[in-house]
Assembly symmetry: C2
Homo-oligomer: 239 residues x 2
Amino acid sequence: MGNIYSTNYFVPFYHSDLKGDMAASAILNVALQVSGEQSAHLGRSEEWVMENYHYSWIVTEYEIDIKRLPKFLEEIVIETEAINYNKFFCYRDFRYKSKEGELLVNIHSTWVLMDSVSRKAGRVEEEIVKPYESEKINKIKRGHVFSKLENAKVKKYQIRYSDIDLNMHVNNSKYYEWAINPLGFDFLTHHRPKKIYIKYNHEILPGEQISSSVMLRDKISHHLINDNDAQIEIEWEKI
Amino acid sequence: MGNIYSTNYFVPFYHSDLKGDMAASAILNVALQVSGEQSAHLGRSEEWVMENYHYSWIVTEYEIDIKRLPKFLEEIVIETEAINYNKFFCYRDFRYKSKEGELLVNIHSTWVLMDSVSRKAGRVEEEIVKPYESEKINKIKRGHVFSKLENAKVKKYQIRYSDIDLNMHVNNSKYYEWAINPLGFDFLTHHRPKKIYIKYNHEILPGEQISSSVMLRDKISHHLINDNDAQIEIEWEKI
């Protein structure tokens, strides 16, 4: 187990969806921000990693358990902890808690260090991860196995300039927005996500259009972004 | 002149564009949040206004002067002040400043109180605005006069679920994103906005598609969202 970094957070208007819940995409954005804060705090800022190794941190997988979504204007506590790592992958948890300490959202995430030149995963160097005091393991964890989509509904979306982040590719929170949208406004206003799996297979660079495919079966929606750029599975509960 | 409310702010990853600038749409989102904080602080929260008058605050116009955009991870100070008001309109300024007090972004904004039933502008009641200590004026300020578009380039965008906010309409920062996007990735990576005018004529409700029209002339881009739902004008500088 590693160092735990913790921060207080108020859920602002721009991170709330129309139901007054903190949007799942905002939960991912804030998680990235909080892990970046921990890294800077430990002398391993994005800039340090880039200058010394030409690497950027990239999330490849998320597993998100939602007991209750934080609410608009709720004051919450966000904890993050680098759990362990092997030659290529680092595993990091996030815990969104109420002010009273109740666990609201639990996130397991898998990270790689992307080489900024080759845009491929680089080796996890001891010097980069040492300050987090996470455990070195040999095992490469198996991720979630996603179902194949059949008779999927497909929608096309224009990539917006604002979808591209500082890493010069589509921000990882945008895949989730594209994924859920074809479920339709009525479904989304009457359901909440309980469990989310996301696997990013290929980064999406600035361009014109992406396709978002969805198959909904028994309160579980299965998603593909483009042919196989990202796979997403969401378990929903009716409100 | 009214009460000044001030808050410190770090520009996070999710509010930065690919150039490392704070995105103009994020500046608008954070401004809304900060004015909401002032209102709550003065006992006039969104909930109070809704419960007592069935009103929501809606921005109808922005005039934004940008001396320098705040940078990713920069610590800035954001001030807001309700300047004055008449029967239907309230005028509020925002000032984004560097830690050293240098004015980076100055915003004049015009607000109405939207009746949640009729979805039309309601009368500004003394009880609502008194705590801000802004000046009552009779004059209705004239807004910016926008040019007519000729030979505009038009793009269609799908409205995403995440574009809709707690007021059950498209969030006002999204219009700007739709507007700039047809200028193209290459233009947007090599230009920065210096001056922005936005006028919201009609709210956009959840639906399928919007159109974004643009005419670019001498470093000034002129925009329409749908036929006339919003007008935007942006003066750009080359980087």
